[in-house]
């Protein structure tokens, strides 16, 4: 009796899953309408992954990436529908090459010492081995930073990204106090930075919805939302020579570093993925894979960085 019930529950569940799958396809269709106008069927079939992990075949026209022009009409506060961006950082691969830092700085038009992504030397315990620890804004799912903002200038989007509206921010810096990871930086108008931003006014924010060079406001890593929407990997991911950083979509259950692609759930399971300071309850969207069986031995940094005021 009981078994039967369980069986029927499972069947219901499967049915639900199927429905969800169809809904996703319908979602793709909808997105197609929004972004690409009326596109003819190409007849070419591609395999896509549904939210519940099944592979289905659809016409390639249905999965076209949204066109740039249409993307601009996006409400930056709401995010890209049908996406949930996620990042995985494999600590076993990081050799402190700092290419992510430089890539990010040139992408966002930021000069050192401002770093949206930092690489820190960490050592968890006295006898524990030191390791390199790349750190971004974690785009927390329960973000303490957006909660405290008095004017809604920093907000959580449906695609998981925590964005900043630099036209709204009043510069109270409360969000910086609230972020336990010190992920935010403030634009104090460092003269070199100001000059640089002005010079590169045209090509600033190649990747971002909101300007990050507004003096007197907060900025931070934002997972490069516009590139991400176009399927272009964030700079830190593509610049890393060691493939340390993986980026992807939680709904697709896939992450890639540009060369290798993994099933997210399997990767986290196999490599015991964790999030930094889980106990704070911030629910970061960045997972770490522990530094076991490393690709490189740990070497102290020989150079000092960012010493210039």
């Amino acid at each position: 009796m009981k078994e039967e019930k369980e069986e029927s529950n499972r069947r219901n569940f499967l049915k639900l899953g199927l429905l969800a799958g169809t809904a996703t396809i319908a979602g793709f269709g909808l997105k197609n309408k929004i972004f690409a106008g009326d596109i003819e069927e190409t007849g070419e079939k591609v395999k896509v992954l549904t939210t519940d992990g099944r592979v289905v075949e659809v016409d390639s026209s249905m999965v076209a990436h949204p066109s740039e022009a249409k993307l601009a009409q996006f409400n930056v506060r709401e995010g890209i529908p049908g996406k949930k961006f996620i990042m995985v950082i494999d600590l076993a691969r990081c050799a402190n090459a700092r290419k992510c830092v430089e890539g990010c700085q040139s992408m966002h038009g930021m000069l050192p010492p401002i770093e949206y992504i930092k690489v820190k030397k960490m050592q968890d315990s006295d006898l524990g081995a030191p390791y390199w620890f790349p750190q971004t804004c974690y785009q927390c799912d329960n973000p303490p930073c957006t909660k405290v903002c008095p004017v809604d200038a920093t907000f959580k989007r449906s695609d998981g990204i925590v964005g900043i509206d630099s036209d709204r921010c009043i510069g109270c810096k409360f969000c910086m106090a609230a972020c336990p990871y010190s992920a935010r930086t403030f634009n104090f108008g460092r003269p070199e930075q100001k000059e640089f931003s002005e010079k590169h006014n045209a090509d600033k924010d190649k990747c971002c919805a909101t300007k990050s060079s507004t003096e007197g406001t907060v900025s931070k890593c934002d997972f490069c939302p516009e590139s991400s929407a176009k399927g272009i990997l964030p700079s830190c991911v593509s610049e890393c020579p060691n493939g340390t950083i993986f980026f992807g979509d939680e709904l697709e259950d896939a992450v890639t570093n540009g060369e290798e692609t993994f099933r997210l759930s399997e990767l986290l399971k196999k490599r015991a993925g964790y999030r930094q300071f889980e106990e704070l309850g911030t629910k970061p969207r960045v997972y770490y894979l522990p530094p076991v069986e490393r690709n490189f031995p740990f070497e102290e940094a020989t150079e000092v960085h960012n010493q210039v005021e």
Binding site: V151, K173, F174, A177, A178, P180, G216, T217, Q276
Partner: protein
Amino acid sequence: MSEKIINEEKTTYETFTQEEYMVMKGDLLRPVQHIGKWGKIWIGFLIAVCLAGVYAYYIQETKSKYVTVSLRDYTMWGVYISNFVFFVALSLIGVLMSAVLKLTHFEWYRPLSRIAEVIAVAAIMLAGVSIVAAMGRPDRLHYLLLHGRIQSPIVWDIIVILTYVTTSIILLFIPMIPSMSTCKNHLTGKPKWQMKMYDILSFGWEGTPAQWKSLKKSVKILTVLVIPLGVSIHTVTAWLFATTLRSEWDSTNFGAYFVSGAFLLGVAGMIVAISVIRKTYKLENYLTPMHFDKLGRALVMMSFIYIYFNINEYLVPAYKMSGLHANHLINLFVGEEALFYWSVVLFGMVIPATLPLIPAVRKPLPLTIIAFGVVIAAWFKRYLIVIPGLAHPYLPIQDVPASWKHYTPSLIEMTIVAATFAAMLLIVTIFSRFFPIISVWEVAEGKLEGKDEIINYK
């Protein structure tokens, strides 16, 4: 209850003569009637410091803040925010030294209440100025109205502070109505506009029994109202810190800790204020050694309460020394800030808790010195609450320029802070030059009703 009534009957109808009243009125109106040379120099000096602050602010806003201000990404809140907390704390002086004493029928509050209230109003205004100085985009201040969201503790703070300011100003001016008519009738040789101002502010006061009745009633309501408001402004200010996940502020004790600190500061501030006022305005007959004696006792009590909360705040986490707190606490106890920290403990808590236990110390001069120490220590205490912890976040600070690790306020910042102090003193000074700083009728009434406690105090 019945005992109290008998007591009141004994004291209520002790009269004081018309002559006594005229002398008193003369004394209390004197600072308004005549401003001496030193009075003018003092006002000029304060205005000069304020102008220096305005100029410093102009530089800060027109030049790059990276150059003018020492704030960086880790220490993003600096001396402006700690100054803000200090002024909010100081503004609780009105609650303690006026409202609480009034409602608990301590007759000696009478000459103190207006002094306390004007300090409270000035302090809370300067708290607002400090916050604006700290903002990255002061030009967007109005966004708080346009886009304000109720879930942000900043918005709570703004709401309670605005309510408190309004209530305090009303509470300051309503009991002044009879004083205004006294000014109108008894001051001579003042410019026309000033007399006109007294006329307007006395709201047609004639001193009829009905007018007295409604005046007293409204004062009472406001007095009751101002206590929870005062406690909330400082509690919410504490929550600005306690609602974050930072270990140095992550405390359920924070609201009470801040309020108790504010009460200690309030008593100390009052002692300093009356000792200056009685000397400069020759009001020794009204602000008497009795007041110092009482305030000295209050100082001891408030210090002990504050020490109690400090033990909860520092020693309990220190006993555990969890990894989250260790960095910050060790830095305070034996590290870089140790000297600073222990001086604040000594001058801000230990001395005021112990020395005034000796009756000889509760005399005006020694007590004023102690209280002055408490006020200075209180300012630095706010600094120690806000700033050092920021340099010890959960994730280590690495690869940054030296100025990002250690915060030392810049000249511009210190000038602006100095200007906020000057502005506060200026408001109080100007006020006392236009309005009697001690309420004539309240003291007169006190002499009628509570003559025993005020006059015959041994």
